[in-house]
C-alpha cells in the first residue's frame, strides 16, 4: 500500500503522522520549500472550544474532539499549547442573547466548562477589557498554539516513522484508471500510488478536479493581522477575546500568542476564486483601520505604536461554509478540503477519522507498526533553562552559549538543530526557532543566520532565500 498526501500544512502533516502508525509507504508532497507555509502559517492560531459551530455541521463533529486531542498531541510532539480560555464579549443587550445561544450550542456540541460571566468578573480577570462590557461567554478549553509548529512537529515525527517528504514538489496531474487513482505527476517526477489524500489547502478544489473527483468550489477569505511587541505589550490580556460573532464570522480577536506577544485580527474579506487571489496575502489600509477600531472597542488601551509585524492569511472558504471531508467516487481519492475555521482545531480529529475512512472505503485493515515512535523532541530553548542547567549545557556544547537572535534569545545550537530538521531558508529558521521574530525583526541577526545557513548547506550567503526560489535576498558580490 502506497499513500500520497498532497499538502504538508497542518492537515496533511497530522494525516501523515497518523498514517505513519501503520505499515504503509507514505509520500508527502508539498509545493512550498517548507512545511506549514500556506494556510497554516497565517491564521489566529486558536484551538477553539467548539461552541461556534452549528450542530449538524461537519465542523461541529470534529471541533470539540479535535480540541480535546490537542492536549496529548502537544505532549507527544512537544509543541506549545496554552489553554488560556476565551471570552466572547457582549457590549449590548442584544449581544447577550447571542451569548446565550452560543452557550446552548456549546452544550449541544459537548463543550466542557462554559460559563456566562458578568461585568465584574470579566473586569477582575481582564482589567484591560472595555468597562462598557456587559457580559461574556467563558470557554476554558480554548487555547493558543503555533500552527506551523504543529505541522513541522507532526512531519518530523512522521518522517521518523518512515514517511517521505518531498518539498518544492507540486502535483500537476492525477492519473486514474477505471475510476481508481493510479499515479501522481509532479514537477519532480511521477509516483505510483494506491491512495491520494487531498490536503491541498487553498488549492483543494483544483486538486480534486485533477482526479475527476467531487469537490466544493473554494475561494480565499482574507484575514489581516497586526502583531504587537511582547516587550511592550506582553501580558496586556491573558485570554482570547472575541467580540460577539456576526454573520461574517467570529470577528476580530485580541489574543496573546504563545510567544507572549499580542495578536489582533483577523479581518474577513472574501476574494474571487481565481488563482492570483489564492496567493494574495497583501495587507491593506482598510484592513489596518478596521483592526485598530475593532481592537480599540474591546480593549481601549491597546497601542498600535507597539506593532512589529503585519501580515495576512487566507482561509479556504466554500459556499457551504463547512469542511468537505471523506471518500469520493474516484476509488482511493479522499478529500480534506474547505478547511476554514476551526480547521486547525479539527485537524487531529479529522486525521484520525480519515485513517478509518480509507480503510473502510477500501475494505482493508492496515497493520500497526510495532516500532511506532509517538514522540518527537522539541528544539531545546536554552535561555528558558535555569542558569545552572544552561551553564552545564554550554560546558557540553559551547554553541549553546553563543547568542544569535538577541531579542528572542536563540543560540547557534538551536539554529543548527533547526537546519538538521530541515530548515533551508530564513523563514525555515524563523518558524522553527523564533529567531528574527522579535522586536528588531532580524535587524541584528539575519546576516548571522544567513552565514550559519550558508556554512551548513555548503553554499554562499547570496544563495540563501527568504522562502522560495524567487525570494532571493542578495544579488552576489559588490566587488569581486
Amino acid at each position: 500500500m502506497r499513500i500520497g498526501i498532497i499538502g504538508a500544512g497542518v492537515v496533511g502533516a497530522l494525516v501523515a503522522r497518523e498514517l505513519s502508525r501503520y505499515d504503509i509507504e507514505l509520500l508527502v508532497f508539498e509545493k512550498n520549500w517548507d512545511v506549514g507555509m500556506g494556510v497554516t502559517k497565517a491564521n489566529s492560531a486558536i484551538v477553539h472550544a467548539g461552541y461556534d459551530d452549528e450542530p449538524g455541521t461537519v465542523r461541529s463533529k470534529f471541533c470539540v474532539p479535535g480540541n480535546a486531542m490537542y492536549t496529548e498531541l502537544s505532549k507527544e510532539l512537544q509543541f506549545d499549547l496554552k489553554r488560556i480560555g476565551s471570552l466572547v464579549l457582549a457590549f449590548k443587550d442584544e449581544e447577550l442573547r447571542v451569548l446565550e445561544e452560543l452557550y446552548k450550542r456549546g452544550e449541544m456540541n459537548g463543550v466542557p466548562g462554559l460559563e456566562i460571566w458578568d461585568r465584574d468578573r470579566i473586569l477582575s480577570y481582564e482589567p484591560n477589557v472595555n468597562p462598557e462590557v456587559v457580559a461574556a461567554l467563558w470557554a476554558p478549553t480554548a487555547g493558543i498554539t503555533e500552527p506551523w509548529m504543529v505541522a513541522m512537529a507532526a512531519i518530523e515525527n512522521a518522517i521518523e516513522n518512515g514517511a517521505k517528504l518531498f518539498l518544492d514538489t507540486q502535483v500537476l496531474e492525477i492519473a486514474t484508471e477505471n475510476q481508481r487513482v493510479k499515479r501522481l505527476v509532479t514537477n519532480k517526477g511521477e509516483f505510483e500510488v494506491d491512495v491520494v489524500i487531498n490536503a491541498a489547502g487553498m488549492y483543494g478544489d483544483e486538486v480534486a478536479k485533477m482526479a475527476g473527483a467531487e469537490f466544493v468550489p473554494l475561494h480565499p477569505r482574507k484575514g489581516e493581522y497586526i502583531l504587537l511587541d511582547k516587550q511592550e505589550f506582553g501580558g496586556f490580556v491573558k485570554s482570547i477575546l472575541f467580540p460577539t460573532p456576526s454573520v461574517l464570522g467570529k470577528g476580530t480577536l485580541v489574543t496573546p500568542t504563545v510567544d507572549g506577544g499580542i495578536l489582533v485580527g483577523p479581518t474577513a474579506v472574501d476574494l474571487p476564486p481565481e488563482r492570483e487571489f489564492r496567493e494574495d496575502t497583501s495587507t491593506t489600509f482598510e484592513g489596518f483601520e478596521a483592526l485598530m477600531s475593532k481592537a480599540l472597542k474591546m480593549t481601549p488601551l491597546i497601542d498600535f505604536r507597539a506593532s512589529i509585524k503585519t501580515f495576512a492569511g487566507l482561509r479556504p472558504e466554500s459556499p457551504q461554509k463547512d469542511f468537505f471531508v471523506g471518500r469520493t467516487s474516484v476509488i482511493g481519492f479522499f478529500n480534506i478540503i474547505a478547511m476554514r475555521s476551526p480547521g486547525l482545531t479539527a485537524a487531529p480529529a479529522i486525521a484520525k477519522f480519515i485513517v478509518e475512512e480509507v480503510q473502510e472505503a477500501l475494505g482493508e485493515t492496515f497493520q500497526k507498526k510495532s516500532d511506532f515512535k509517538p514522540t518527537r523532541e522539541r528544539i531545546k530553548h536554552y535561555a528558558d533553562l535555569p542558569a545552572t542547567v544552561w551553564d552545564e549545557e554550554i560546558k557540553k556544547d559551547p554553541l549553546a552559549g553563543r547568542m544569535i537572535c538577541f531579542c528572542n534569545k536563540v543560540t547557534e545550537r538551536e539554529i543548527l538543530e533547526a537546519i538538521k530538521r530541515g530548515a533551508r531558508t530564513i523563514d525555515g529558521i524563523k518558524f522553527r526557532t523564533r529567531a528574527m521574530f522579535g522586536s528588531c525583526q532580524g535587524g541584528f541577526c539575519m546576516h548571522r543566520i544567513m552565514k550559519i545557513l550558508a556554512r551548513e548547506l555548503g553554499t554562499d550567503i547570496s544563495d540563501i532565500r527568504l522562502r522560495s526560489e524567487g525570494s532571493f535576498i542578495l544579488l552576489g558580490q559588490v566587488r569581486k
Binding site: I226, L227, Q231, E232, E279, T281, S282, T283, T284, F285, G287, F288, F304, R305, S307, I308, K309, T310, F311, Y382, A383, A387, T388, W390, D391, I394, K395, P398, L399, G401, R402, M403, F406, K409, S439, C440, Q441, G442, G443, F444, M446, H447, I461, S462, R465, L466, R467, S468, E469, G470, S471, F472, I473, L474, L475, G476, Q477, V478, R479
Partner: protein, 412 residues
C-alpha cells in the same frame, strides 16, 4: 557557573561603552569589564565606512572603523579594562545587583558595584510603520543594508527606493549609487528631512536623487522578491491624499525610519521615557537607580558619535566616583520649556558640568535658546535654521550653576 565581583560592568562596547570604560579607568577604579554581545567591539561604527566622524572628539575627520580603532587604542592603554566579546546579558537582578551573562564559556554572574548601560539603539522595523502590501524579500532596514554592502561585500538589488530620510538612509542612498544601484527616490513623511543637512547635500543633491517630502509608502508589492513600491503625498494630518500615488518598479526597499533606544532589558526597574524609550539620566549619566549609569543612544538618539563617546566618558567618570566614595550629590530637574522636543539630561547633579542636547519640536528660521535656573539665566543665544533633525549641544560649566530646577526653552 562563575561568579565575579567587579568595580564597574559596562554593557555594550560601542562608542558609548568604550568611552565609559575610558572615563571609569581614568578615575583609577580596580576593574572595569565591558561585555559586548557582537563578535567584536566598536558597535555600529564598524560598518560606517564613510567619513565625518571624530571632528569633535579627536579633532580630525575619520571613518567609522578608524574612529573605533582610535578609541580601542586608548582602551588598550588601561590594563584595568577588560573587553569581552560574544557576551550576552541574559538577566539583571537589580535588587541583588547581579548581572547574568551567557557566552560560549558558560554562565557568569557579575556582581558590579556600578553598572553602565551602553546598549545603543535598534532600527525601527517595517512592521512598526503599518505599510500595506505583501511581504517579499528585498526589504531591508538601512543598517542591515549597510552591513551587507560594507562588511559582507554583497549587493542587494538593482533599483532601490529609500523610505525615511534618516542619516543612515541618506548615506545608503549615496553608497548604493556609487555601487551602481539606481536609487529612484527618498521618501520622507515629515515636511522636512530627518537627517543632517550636510547629508542631504552630499548624499542626495550631489547625485540628483529626488527627495519626496510629506510622502509615505502606501504599498509594497511582490510575490517573492519586491517588485513595486507605491508612494503617496500626505495631507497635514498625515493621511495619504488620493490621486497622488506614484509607482516605482524597484527590487529593493531600504527603510530608515528611526532608531529606538534599546532599553527593554531595564524597563522593570529604570525610569524610561515612555515616548522615546530612552533611559532617563542625569548630567552625570546616572539613571533613576543610584548604582546604574547609562550613556549613548540607549538614553537619547544623538546626531554625532563624538557626543556619544563624550557622554560615555562622563558616565564612566561619575560611575567610578560613585564606586570610590558613594558620590550622590543634590539633584535638580532639567525641564522642557516651549518648542523643545527632545531634551537630555532629565536631572542635573551638583558637581557636574551640564551638557545639554536638544531637538526643537518644529523647524524654525530663528529661535533663542534659553537655559534658566530660577532667575539666573545660564545660557541665551540666537540660533538660525533650527530643525528637529539637527541636535543642538550646549555646554554649561559647573561653576555657573547654582541650585534649583533648570528650564530649557526655545523662544521663536
Amino acid at each position: 557557573m562563575k561568579e565575579k565581583s567587579v568595580d564597574i560592568l559596562v554593557i555594550g562596547a560601542g562608542a558609548a561603552g568604550l568611552g565609559a570604560a575610558i572615563g571609569a579607568a581614568r578615575e583609577g577604579v580596580n576593574e572595569v569589564v565591558l561585555v559586548e554581545r557582537d563578535d567584536r567591539s566598536g558597535g555600529v561604527l564598524n560598518q560606517c565606512i564613510h567619513n565625518g566622524f571624530g571632528l569633535h572628539y579627536f579633532r580630525e575627520e575619520l571613518t567609522g572603523p578608524e574612529y573605533a580603532e582610535r578609541i580601542k587604542r586608548i582602551v588598550q592603554q588601561y590594563p584595568n579594562i577588560d573587553v569581552k566579546v560574544e557576551q550576552y546579558v541574559h538577566q539583571i537582578d537589580y535588587r541583588r545587583k547581579e548581572v547574568v551573562v551567557a557566552s560560549t564559556e558558560g554562565i557568569t554572574v557579575y556582581k558590579p558595584k556600578a553598572l553602565i548601560v551602553a546598549t545603543g539603539a535598534r532600527e525601527r522595523p517595517m512592521g512598526g510603520i503599518l505599510v500595506p502590501g505583501t511581504r517579499p524579500s528585498g526589504v531591508f532596514t538601512a543598517g542591515v543594508a549597510q552591513r551587507f554592502v560594507n562588511l559582507e561585500n554583497r549587493l542587494l538589488g538593482r533599483r532601490a527606493i529609500i523610505v525615511g530620510s534618516g542619516d543612515i538612509g541618506l548615506i545608503m542612498a549615496r553608497r548604493l549609487t556609487l555601487e551602481g544601484v539606481e536609487v529612484v527616490a527618498v521618501v520622507e513623511r515629515m515636511p522636512y528631512p530627518g537627517g543632517l543637512e550636510r547629508n542631504i547635500r552630499q548624499c542626495l543633491k550631489d547625485f540628483n536623487i529626488p527627495l519626496y517630502l510629506s510622502h509615505t509608502v502606501v504599498g509594497i508589492y511582490g510575490r517573492e522578491r519586491l517588485e513595486e513600491v507605491v508612494i503617496a503625498q500626505l495631507d497635514e494630518s498625515f493621511k495619504p491624499i488620493p490621486g497622488t500615488e506614484k509607482r516605482f518598479k524597484v527590487d529593493t526597499l531600504i527603510l530608515s525610519v528611526g532608531l529606538i533606544p534599546q532599553s527593554t532589558l531595564f524597563k522593570d526597574f529604570l525610569k524610561i521615557d515612555p515616548w522615546t524609550k530612552g533611559i532617563v539620566t542625569s548630567s552625570s549619566g546616572r539613571s533613576s537607580l543610584n548604582w546604574i549609569f547609562a550613556a549613548g543612544n540607549c538614553t537619547v538618539i544623538y546626531d554625532l558619535v563624538d557626543w556619544v563617546t563624550e557622554e560615555g566618558t562622563v558616565a564612566g567618570k561619575f560611575a567610578a566616583t560613585y564606586v570610590k566614595n558613594s558620590w550622590e550629590p543634590a539633584k535638580f530637574f532639567v525641564e522642557k520649556g516651549q518648542n523643545v522636543g527632545i531634551l537630555f539630561p532629565s536631572w542635573y547633579e551638583e558637581g557636574t558640568n551640564l551638557n545639554i542636547y536638544l531637538r526643537v519640536k518644529k523647524p524654525m528660521e530663528e529661535g533663542t535658546i534659553r537655559v534658566k535656573q530660577r532667575n539666573n539665566l545660564l545660557y541665551s543665544k540666537k540660533h538660525l535654521n533650527l530643525s528637529p533633525s539637527e541636535m543642538i549641544s550646549i555646554k554649561i560649566p559647573e561653576s555657573k550653576i547654582g541650585s534649583g530646577d533648570i528650564l530649557v526653552e526655545v523662544i521663536e
